[in-house]
Amino acid sequence: MRIDKRGVLTGTWNLSGNQACAEGALAAGCRFLSAYPIPPSIEVVERFTQRAKEVGAVFVQMEDEISVLAAVLGASWTGKKSMTVTSGPGFSNMMEHLGLGVMLETPCVIVDIQRAGPAIGIPTRVGQGDMMQARWGSHGDYEIIALSPSSPQEMFDFTIKAFNLSERYRVPVAVMSDAYVAHLKEKVVIPPAGKIKIKPRRYYKGRKDKYLPFKRDKDFVPRMVDIGAGYRFHVTGLTHDERGYPIMFEECQEHNVHPLVKKIRHYVDKIVEFQEVETDDAEVVIISYGATSRFALKAMEQARKSGMKVGSLKLITVWPFPDKRVAELAKKAKAFVVLEINYGQIVFEVERCSYGNANVAFVSHGEKGIDNIEDLLSTIEQVMKEKKVRKGIIEYRT
């Protein structure tokens, strides 16, 4: 697909995660951003608006986050790649429209810069408490894709990836970043426009009067058209058939909603990405994502130095969850140590996928400051000593 070069700021830059995210969006061809200001996500909007005028993108500040996501969905149907950026409380407000996005199968990207919660929490400090919310936060059943970047470079890359995935699977994709990564300044390399892979929207190209907005291809994904192109289609948040018309039977519900789940579940292997470091001989595998994976690696190196066989599994796509890989590792390793800035969310998933084959220890990271890895190291030590297989999640005293 031809890429709009104006959006790509090729070069090597020193950018914060938030700025890199805005650059990633523009590079991916995002031309519509709607947001309501909320720390720590403001810099994304700032960067976007500063560059918008050169690129021909538009930013709208709506009256609340509810209308923000509604506007993003509307804009996406006009053919513009659309995005919103928010943080915890705003993300909670978007939950209803996340469901609408899923039901209308509207591609869009939601960037959530997680902060300490619940409620107002601490607006400026890091947290990872919205991970389960991304998967389960809206009512009704659906599947979603969520990515978790751990550096400004990844903020750039994953934002592009998020747009590609959302166009490919026609589902809202969440970029679950956190305040630490968002405010971290690092080198970001933006490649030339030709080197960036962009997934185009899957348009319907047949006869206008034959268009069915929810007729699925074999991979369960229907094709889209733009508003104003003369198709005169109808879409609804109600349970609908392939014409987009509401039908209130359980057969239609099955016909409509089951593919929403299947279109992700059947392609889990294609979607799921993770990074493994020295897991081949590892007795203990640290599982982490986002900001925590930076400290997981640090701890891993230190533990290796002192002779412990420790590996690291960093989740790139948190949703869908890499069930299979975790199950495989559980058979090889003695234990998992899960590192998160919350009181246990993804650790429950690890427990689920380890099928009693490995112990699962949890470290609630950040109590002693985010760069303090003492707790993690001491947990690794204690996990190493553990002889028997224990049920449930183990939290060691540190």
């Binding site: 309501y36 909007v45 709208v60 107002i120 607006p123």
Partner: protein
Amino acid sequence: MNPIITVFSKGIEKSGIKPSKVSVPSDIPFGSEVVNHLGVDFFHTIRGRAIPFGTGLKLGNPALKVVPFVGDLMTLGGNHFVHAGRRNMELLVICVNNFVYRKIGGQPAPSTPVTFSPYSTFEEPFNIPHLGNSCGAVYTARWTALHTDELANSIAEALNKQGLSVIEVLSPGPNYYTKIEDIESNLINFYYENSVIKNGEDPKNARITPEEKIVVGKFTDKERPTFIDSYNAQLSKVLGDKFTPYGGKNG
């Protein structure tokens, strides 16, 4: 010390109401050190929900005087505001307006990053007293934070009003979304000096524009039955003896 809280404290004193009977749900994060000496119950609610939170407080205990403080120029909570006005819920809404309006005071320029103003800089802001008035508020006023005496009087008066009262206070006060250093420190003086008091003016004509002086004053002061009054009246009419009136003036 926050100037608005000082004036608020004076207002409560003048009104003769016991501070312990005053509850303040606020979506502006006043620090504990700022509000503690007031002697009121203070709730820092989530953004935009101070008014419905206050509605619950008032209906849960009608003896309370509930004073929601709202910032954000009615963005998130606009709906709650207009509906509270319609119902004439007995609340005193103090709207702290710290907008960064372009051209006022020469600063900030149009190129100010839009994220730093509650509205994008090219949008026209709400005329809050007018909106309040047209939704049925019984008392509306606007002052700058430097009109301390007038503001305190207004607060005292409004606290004794039956129904939804709205006082807009122009002030570069504490707010999440404003970079204080971006605003010239004398902006508040600018507001003060560029204002003209017109009590009793139709709030329709009190639009804040870059060209004209800011109209301040008390705009509306009328009587309408409050939500609890109409509730009691209607249900007593229909149910007769089976119904015990709710709350009442003394709870």
